[in-house]
């Protein structure tokens, strides 16, 4: 029997998901396999499609606010941010400076929470049970801080057109500062437990290498793109809100393997802390909400707004028709593009490596399906 014939006979299909511990939600990946080698992984989407975009097109624009936080529940505030900024750009609403500062502070806190959760979940994929609980320990402090100002813990709906719905007080500033101090002290734990661990390095180094060319071809964004060595961050390259006022770096990786993607996220946490510190130092006084017409009219024509969510470039695209209900609303989510390179990346690798790669992409499935 020919080798190729033998290979052909030993092919079989394996359904990974929609209920599998390491697909992080209802993602199905149909794997064509030969032994433990994955020949062709094909993601199948749509298990948790909830028509968010259509819902946005069927109600006046303020009514879409609670939906934004539910698309990506791990990092909801940047989603809020993108949507309010979109409508503000479309309707020409001014935002007070204090509100923008509050938005930046809360968004960055949320980003850290998302990265901490990802860190734990990724290590869980690799088989280490403890880091996720340490991550949750830190994340819980962020959630407490955010709860004290937004009123909810996960699916925030905090920003409003022309500002935010509740002002931050001295106590919030104090707690945030205390948290920054605390998280910096905890770096050592993560470094010793995870970053330096030889097993972790062996499981991530040189695995799932996304070349810069490939990353661009598939439209990857966020830490996944930066892991491949391309310094592209909406906060720097297409600045919005008050981000240009802050001094922060955009960490990039060397070769685009899982370890680089991990390192980029870990280093990003420190940059988030820097942004928050600067924002707290310069927090201006003033109103938190500008006067907004009760019935916001969306003028005919299209409008786009992109923000940097924890997973990459999130952009809202809207076409208005003169009423307050959008004619068309399109959300470009980062995870969808990030996942799309899996079939090319996962050819001829081992099953455990596929799990490692999937985890390193930091996918949130409800965001992909929307």
């Amino acid at each position: 029997m020919l080798e190729s014939e033998y290979q052909e006979q030993n092919r079989f299909f394996l359904n990974m998901g929609p209920q599998h511990p390491s697909t992080h939600g209802v993602l199905l990946i149909v794997l064509e396999m030969n032994g433990e080698y994955v020949l062709d992984p094909q993601p199948v989407l749509g298990f948790i499609h909830r028509m968010h975009e259509k819902m946005g097109e069927s109600r006046p624009c303020p009514g879409f606010m609670p939906n934004t936080g539910r698309m990506d529940y791990v990092c909801a505030l940047p989603y809020n941010h993108g949507y309010v900024s979109l409508i503000e750009r479309k309707a020409g609403i001014e935002v007070p400076e204090r509100a923008e500062y509050i938005r930046v502070i809360t968004s960055e806190l949320n980003r850290i929470a998302s990265h901490l959760l990802w860190l734990g979940a990724y290590l869980l994929d690799l088989g280490a049970f403890t880091p996720i609980l340490y991550g949750f320990d830190d994340r819980e402090h962020i959630l407490d801080i955010l709860e004290s100002v937004t009123g909810s813990r996960l699916t925030y709906s905090y920003y409003r057109f022309g500002g935010v719905c509740q002002d931050i007080d001295e106590k919030f500033v104090e707690r945030t500062r205390a948290f920054i101090k605390r998280l910096r002290k905890r770096y050592g734990i993560y470094e010793k437990l995870v970053t330096k661990n030889i097993i972790f390095i062996k499981r991530t180094e040189n695995i799932g290498i996304v070349s810069p060319d490939m990353a661009l071809r598939y439209g990857m964004t966020g830490p996944n793109l930066r892991g491949s060595g391309i310094s592209y961050d909406i906060r720097k390259n297409e600045p919005y809100s008050v981000y240009p006022e802050f001094d922060f770096e955009v960490p990039v990786g060397r070769q685009g393997d899982c370890l680089d993607r991990y390192m980029v996220r870990v280093r990003e946490i420190e940059q988030c802390l820097r942004i928050i510190e600067q924002a707290l130092d310069r927090l201006p006084e003033g109103p938190i909400r500008s006067k907004v017409p009760k019935n916001i009219k969306l003028s005919p024509g299209d409008c786009n707004f992109a923000v940097e969510a924890a997973r990459g470039e999130l952009s809202y695209y809207l076409i208005g028709d003169g009423t307050s209900t959008p004619y068309r609303l399109k959300v470009r989510v980062p995870s969808y593009s990030n996942l799309s390179c899996l079939p090319e990346l996962g050819r001829g690798i081992l099953l455990p490596d596929l799990v490692s790669i999937l985890g390193s992409f930091d996918l949130v499935i409800p965001e992909i399906d929307r």
Partner: protein
């Protein structure tokens, strides 16, 4: 009374030992399960089981009852015989080594002069359970688990045997009692630190414990070879795993940590068991801590580690030992 006295005393001894061993085995699994969950909890800054009994002390008993009461689900299209035999196969071979383990000078069911070989043989039967269970389950994930278990066991038997051999060379006997007796003055862990390390690492792999828990790697294979098992079938695998851990730890104690030797106790020939168990549970504690600290290795890395590091090191160690003993 008369019937008992007519029975050969050796048989009575064996029966009593068997009963004690099985009781101990269940007790050990309950204790280890509880300890594992408690330690895992405190490592992760949470209290672990707290609800059933004071500090959740009865939790494992309740869990055991729950498992026994559960329905035995046999999935569609499985090989019924193999599917049912596998849990028994994982459970039975781990009882037998207890017959030769010297808990103290006089607490030993049977001192075989080939005791160590007997234990190692029984240890290798254990992998059959994974293979049969995984094969019989009619599930691709189980199949992966089974194949991994076999590959793992084959490559890790080698360093285990080589490291054991180094000790055998030093004391010239396969009898466990004899080996412990040879450590009256100094424990072999001080003379054979490399062999000890190799044995512990390979033992972790042998018992399928994290970071070498590839056959059940839950983030890759859902639950590996016991994906399809429920109720008592699952709990027998569970019992088998913990008992296997206990055996690996007690063999390490016998070979390297001086068995029942320790500071003098009254009735030392019996109460040596205290020292023995202390050492065994110290090793088990380490095994638990390791599980809750490290990520899982990839299985080709695991095999590479065995052939690239463990086998050469144990061979070199064996060679040096042989030369030194000869001199």
């Amino acid at each position: 009374m008369e019937t008992i006295s007519t029975l050969p005393p050796e048989l009575i001894r064996m029966v009593i030992s068997a009963i004690i061993v099985i009781t101990f085995l269940f007790l050990n699994a309950i204790m280890m399960g509880y300890a594992e969950r408690k330690i895992a909890g405190h490592v992760q800054r949470r209290p672990g089981p707290m609800e059933v009994g004071s500090h959740g002390i009865l939790q494992m008993i309740i869990d055991g009852i729950k498992l026994v009461a559960k329905e035995l689900i046999i999935p569609f299209n499985v090989d019924r015989t193999l599917f049912r035999v596998a849990p028994l196969l994982s459970f039975t071979p781990v009882i037998l080594p207890f017959l030769v383990i010297p808990f103290s000078e006089k607490l030993q069911a049977r001192d075989l002069n080939m005791g160590l070989i007997f234990i190692v043989t029984m240890g290798s039967v254990n992998v059959m359970a994974c293979l049969v269970g995984g094969w019989g389950s009619n599930n691709k994930y189980s199949m992966f688990g089974a194949m991994r278990a076999v590959a793992q066991a084959i490559s890790y038997e080698v360093p285990i045997l080589l490291s054991i051999l180094a000790v055998i060379l030093m004391c010239n006997t396969f009898s466990l009692k004899g080996i412990v007796g040879a450590q009256q003055k100094i424990w072999f862990v001080f003379l054979q630190p490399v062999a000890f390390l190799i044995y512990v690492v390979a033992g972790l792999a042998e018992t399928n414990r994290a970071p070498f828990d590839l056959p059940e790697a839950e983030s890759e294979l859902t639950a590996g070879f016991h994906t399809e098992y429920s109720g008592m079938g699952f709990s027998l695998f569970f019992l088998g795993e913990y008992t296997n851990m206990f055996i690996v730890a007690s063999v390490a104690t016998v070979l390297f940590l001086g068995g029942w030797h320790g500071p003098h106790l009254p009735y030392g020939e019996y109460l040596g068991v205290v020292w023995f168990l202390l050492k065994v549970y110290f090793l088990l504690f380490l095994m638990i801590m390791v599980r809750w600290t490290y990520p899982r290795v990839r299985f080709d890395q695991l095999l590479n580690f065995s052939w690239k590091y463990l086998v050469p090191f144990s061979l070199a160690n064996l060679l040096i030992t042989a030369v030194v003993v000869k001199l």
